[in-house]
Symmetry: C2
């Protein structure tokens, strides 16, 4: 298998059958040794983080499959920390779609003049460009269209699907008494030009809280799958 | 008259008849002594900058009046560098609406991965919050609505009016062989809840170029009104 991409938290291999294998690593994003799902740098390495991320990803992607929400997921082998996925093309050089239920993180840093920390946001969706150099700038629907990254129709599908998926994750966390504050998702298009969820859904993609306390990704995995 | 506001480039006085008087100052925004219409700090003081800004503002507001585009403008006294305006309430704690015809400035800093410097943008509109502390963050239509700053209808009016006004400015500059790259406008609501253009339209609000050379605000005024 050929390694086609080395990511911050995952490497990607191309299989002979045309599908891809994602190798989850033990590196997590953060700054100065502190985990931060919004960070662009690998902040620390945690033994078992890869498998934990994959366990949660498998759990959520299978929940989405049950609800017939299209994703790139085929299957996962936890022992090897690998996931098999169908090919998908990304939008531009990559987008992140964020769904927010409470005002924290970069939202609060930008709009703190109008929002209190922790304020309920009711599934607010925003898109950011994957661009480490420019610190993943937020981008509007109009700019996405003008720059040829998304059509108006694609933006609408992306937004609706983001809320739909985030709501599933929120519900599943709620079963364990955990509250989802925000989550970032990535989308691509399959060979039929259908918009599908790609990448992963793990503790590293979201901020989850229990009784007002932030839950680290590894702990989240243990609470969710035990 | 009571001074009700001290601004970076203008002071505001309340008149006894309920209207307001804007006193244009010789301070212009910039950083390290270099003029930058996008800057949040007063960078330098230029003798005559206030009157020059007012001359251009008067010129453009009267053009808009001819076209029945609503603004807060009543009249101007160049010798005193003052402009009389009707009262208007601002949105939230103030917005700036930017119309871009070429990719420069903060647009390029954010979206340089997808746009070349100077690329034509065809009247692209974006809104930023007036918030010096948070460096005037751009904000989406969805976020403006969610935070109670603008309704969907108000956003649409704001966007349409911005393009309409920017197009007038662009046309007027073109008469003198000058090209408008971008312009920032401010809006408010009058006592009938009509959305009107407020603040000023001067060299300090826009980037104007002639034969590929940036034109300083004072020079722009001289070229436009001679």
């Amino acid at each position: 298998m050929e390694r086609v991409y080395i990511g911050k938290t995952k490497d990607v291999y191309k299989q002979e059958d045309g599908n891809y294998l994602l190798q989850f690593k033990d590196d997590v994003t953060g700054e100065d040794g502190v985990f931060d799902p919004g960070a662009n740098t690998v902040g620390l390495t945690i033994d078992g983080a890869g498998k934990a991320g994959l366990k949660l990803t498998k759990f959520f992607f299978e929940k989405l499959k049950d609800r017939e929400i299209p994703t790139h997921y085929i299957d996962a082998t936890i022992e090897e920390a690998t996931m098999t996925v169908i090919p998908a093309s990304i939008f531009g050089e990559g987008l992140e779609v964020i769904c927010r239920y409470r005002a924290v993180g970069s939202f609060l840093r930008r709009y703190g003049k109008y929002a209190e920390e922790g304020q309920v946001l009711d599934g607010f969706v925003e898109v950011t460009l994957k661009d480490d150099e420019r610190k993943d700038p937020p981008i509007s629907e109009d700019a996405l269209r003008m720059l040829g990254i998304l059509t108006t129709e694609e933006y609408q599908v992306l937004k609706e699907r983001t809320v739909q998926i985030a709501d599933v994750v929120k519900e599943e966390l709620a079963v364990k008494g955990i509250e989802l504050y925000d989550i970032k998702l990535e989308f691509g298009k399959d060979s039929n030009n259908q918009i599908i969820l790609i990448d992963e859904i793990s503790g590293g993609n979201m901020r989850a809280y229990k009784d007002g306390e932030y839950i680290e990704p590894l702990k989240l995995q243990k609470i969710m799958i035990s």
